[in-house]
Amino acid sequence: MDHILEVTGLNNSYKDFSLTDVSFTLPEDCITGFIGVNGAGKTTTIRTILGLTHKTSGSIKIFGKDMESNEQELKNRIGIVLDEGYFYDELTMDEMKSIIAPAYSGWSDKDYKEYLDRFSLNPRQKIATLSRGMRMKFALTLALSHGADLLIMDEPTSGLDPLIRSQLLEIMKDYMKQGGKGVFFSTHITSDLDKIADMLILIHGGKILFEQDRDILLDNYRLVKGDSKALNNENKKLFLNIQTTDFGFAGVTDKLLEVQKSMSDILVERPTIEDIMLAYIEGGQK
């Protein structure tokens, strides 16, 4: 199985923010969710991968080829959906497409029209008049109409209602059915990932906190609830993070057996991705 995207040792330094040693790999035929809170570095990482912002060090390989030396060829195979504001607002969708399409050797007008139809978009409409959801659909249309093998999306679902979000997820699933494709999308809406992600990568403060198969993550961690009095200095260390209230504690741990030995009378549940994400983030801040 090849790696579709391989990021190694990415470092980037800005005034108030830096990416530190960001490394991860995306296996083929997987949908990878890039999660993190706002400001964690998701957009910066994606912009660096796309060459929109420069890195101080590190390498980016797509389909096994180095991005820097094969830029045009690789960008030709990447479909991009970025947060709003990347279009010329005064143009119509068709006009915008006439600018973007010629850059891609695999452009298919047939696919373009089919997606416009599927999304009920009128190509002669001005982009400035589109709602946020329609803009995203248009961006997706452009991204999917040139035979791309990798979709890179930055927060495609933020600000969208649940219906559009689920439509988008369906389209991602359909896209993957073709085989040999990959999807990399960043989000802070973890409920979308529960439904669709195969791999999860968590970034926080410019650093990668974990990179893991979704099911393994959910298999390994448990949400444990119990009496706060049962907590002591020893067993607290078994948890990634603990939250206590007057009515008990809740904590995420991957050492369930030891926890069970250390305290009885506990409730054990499978955590959600959000539980794990928050536990990692809050736990790391101690």
Partner: protein
């Protein structure tokens, strides 16, 4: 084929799926030569990650239950007597595991369990 995965179970997801597929093969619900669903559609349908299904399929193949042909798919392997024997052994192991799980929840120790088994085994 029925695959039900439990979120409440302690068993890893891939293991639950793998065992249920093996079950289906042994019980004949999946006949020799039958195709298994494609990795992605299977993953979509039971709502697990593609990587999990891939692992299941890989292990099934390693253990000889299935064979896969690149570009075509994964199929239940044909004519493997030894396999059947091993798998019946597997069935016993499975039931034993269930036994042990139950015993643990009832706080029956390994020694007590062994003792019970000794008695029951001699009974035939």
């Amino acid at each position: 084929m029925k695959i039900l995965i439990s979120n409440a179970s302690d068993k890893p997801l891939y293991q639950q799926i793998k065992e249920q597929i093996i079950d289906a093969i042994l019980k004949g619900e999946l006949a020799e030569g039958d195709p298994l669903p494609s990795i992605r559609s299977f993953a979509n349908d039971i709502k697990v990650s593609v990587l999990t299904i891939r692992r299941v399929y890989d292990e099934l193949e390693q253990e000889g239950f299935t064979t896969s042909q690149v570009g075509i798919g994964t199929f239940v392997s044909t004519g493997n007597v030894e396999l059947l024997r091993d798998s019946k052994r597997h069935m016993v192991e499975k039931q034993m595991q269930e036994l042990i799980d139950t015993a643990k929840t009832l706080n029956i120790t390994k020694e007590e369990l062994n003792a019970m088994m000794d008695i029951l085994y001699e009974e035939d």
